[in-house]
């Protein structure tokens, strides 16, 4: 079966890309944070510590897997898979270029948003199964946060769908052939809302309340060690890449750009957004739980609804 072989190859390619991308992002984040803080960051392994992530993953692979006493074993074991699996599957529809897309589903964007929201299940399972009060608090916070930020996130994506009339990611990119959506005012607002909600979606500063190092230790993954912790870590950075890739696809014209090959353009845009998020992370303090919820429901949701209504009216007119 030649089709099966191709599928397998695609799957391998996606997995390979995810792991290298996550490793690169971890190293990059450490470097960016170090430079922002006037430090040097990892320097020992490889050129400027570029092999640090490899060394770390070997360390994590070799580490003992500690199961806390009184943990809800099944849930505790399953949780990391529930976090990693959706973020890996979301890669299916990401268009790296016109040709290089694992599978161009005609409901692509819907698939990405729905599959990534399964993550919250894994996080909550991790929080509940660990038999740790801090983890439980982290899990509860995470559930509340991710579900509330799903609303403005989807509302801002709906605007793009309205504009293009398609759910396919490839078609959305093609629709931007004559100019990025970012350059249109109502879509620029949607972009900002998308970026804020997506930051909350992947638990990054200033919305890193589920982890909240200074309050909850490490939140939902306090009790995880070794490879299980690594899975959470990889999932975090994979999610980060996905939201940036989706943002690049929806608002920044995806692979389109002059001179350079399409894949390079796409990665440049995606990593550009990741850098922006890193820059934000190492600058801002964390918001409080109730403030964050209030921001989602009292500011982001009404604003995106109003934006949706106004631009819908303008489109129909």
């Amino acid at each position: 079966m030649p089709g099966m072989g191709l599928l397998l190859l695609k799957g391998m390619a996606v997995l390979g890309f995810i792991s290298t991308s996550a490793m690169f992002l971890i190293w990059w984040e450490r470097k960016v944070s170090a430079l922002i803080q006037n430090r040097m960051g990892p320097m020992a392994t490889g050129w400027h510590g570029s092999l640090q992530s490899v060394a770390d993953s070997i360390k994590l692979l070799l580490k003992e897997n500690i199961v806390p006493a009184g943990a809800d074993k099944l849930i505790w074991w399953l949780a990391p898979f529930f976090v990693v699996f959706p973020s890996v599957s979301a890669f299916v529809t990401i268009p790296f270029s016109e040709k290089l897309v694992p599978r161009d589903l005609n409901v692509g964007i819907l698939f990405v948003t729905s599959i990534t929201s399964v993550c919250v299940l894994g996080i909550f399972m991790a929080g509940w199964g660990s038999n740790n009060k801090y983890s439980l608090l982290g899990g509860m916070r995470s559930a509340a946060q991710i579900i509330s930020y799903e609303v403005p996130l989807l509302l801002s994506i709906v605007l793009v769908v309205m504009q293009t009339g398609t759910l396919s990611m490839v078609e959305i990119v093609r629709a931007q052939a004559h100019g990025w959506f970012l350059l249109r005012p109502h879509l620029a607002l949607a972009f900002v809302i998308y970026l804020i909600s997506a930051t909350a979606e992947v638990n990054r500063v200033p919305f890193d309340i589920p982890e909240a190092e200074s309050e909850l230790g490490a939140g939902y993954h306090t009790e995880y060690s070794g490879m299980k912790f690594a899975m959470f870590f990889v999932a975090e950075y994979t999610n980060l890449f996905i939201i940036s890739a989706v943002a690049a696809t929806l608002f920044l014209g995806g692979w389109q750009g002059p001179l350079l090959p399409p894949v390079v353009w796409f990665l440049l845009k995606a990593y550009g957004i990741i850098f922006l998020l890193m820059w934000v992370r190492w600058t801002l303090p964390r918001v409080r739980m109730d403030q964050m919820m209030a921001f989602a429901w009292k500011v982001l949701t009404p604003v995106s609804l109003a934006n949706l209504l106004l631009s819908g009216w303008l489109m129909l007119r």
Binding site: N38, M40, M43, V280, V299
Partner: protein, 157 residues
């Protein structure tokens, strides 16, 4: 009506100003050192491990008396040499586990025999290696030597 909008924009502006600060620092050179490869020279009167120049010691016990943590141990005996009575150190040890590196022994010493050297990488694999370091032994810090920069020349006077 306008106040919330004004507040919102000022808040957004304040976040952007904060990000300006961090991006400025991103492009400024790091202030830290690539530590194990490059080392910062210690200051002249840095208080490291206790060290002794045995010939200079006059066995006055000042350092033993002033030591707040009793980290130093000294005993001596009197020997007759050329029909003259002479004091000789039998044991002079230093317990780095107890020492608080206050430098009082260095200050009271009338002949500057006891001093604190510039070693700062003094970790060893066993506590026992720190419990009683024989100050009379010139090679006592040999195992730490290659880790420490600009260590003072061994000066037996």
């Amino acid at each position: 009506m306008f106040r919330p909008i004004k507040v919102f924009f000022l808040s957004a502006l304040s976040l952007l100003i904060g990000m300006k600060v961090t991006i400025k620092n991103l492009f400024s050179p790091p202030v830290t050192l690539d530590y194990p490869n490059k080392k910062q020279p210690m200051k002249k009167n840095f208080r490291g491990m206790v060290d002794l120049k045995p010939p200079a010691c006059v066995i006055c016990y000042q350092c033993i008396k002033i030591c707040p943590t009793a980290a130093l141990f000294l005993s001596h005996k009197t020997v007759e040499q050329d029909a003259k009575k002479k004091n000789e150190i039998t044991k002079f040890t230093f317990n780095a586990e107890l020492c608080c590196f206050c430098g009082l022994c260095e200050e009271v010493c009338p002949t500057d025999a006891i001093y604190l050297n510039q070693m700062y990488e003094v970790s060893v694999f066993s506590h026992d290696d720190l419990l009683s370091i024989d100050l009379m032994d010139p090679k006592k810090y040999k195992h730490l030597d290659d880790r420490t920069v600009n260590q003072p020349e061994p000066n037996p006077q």
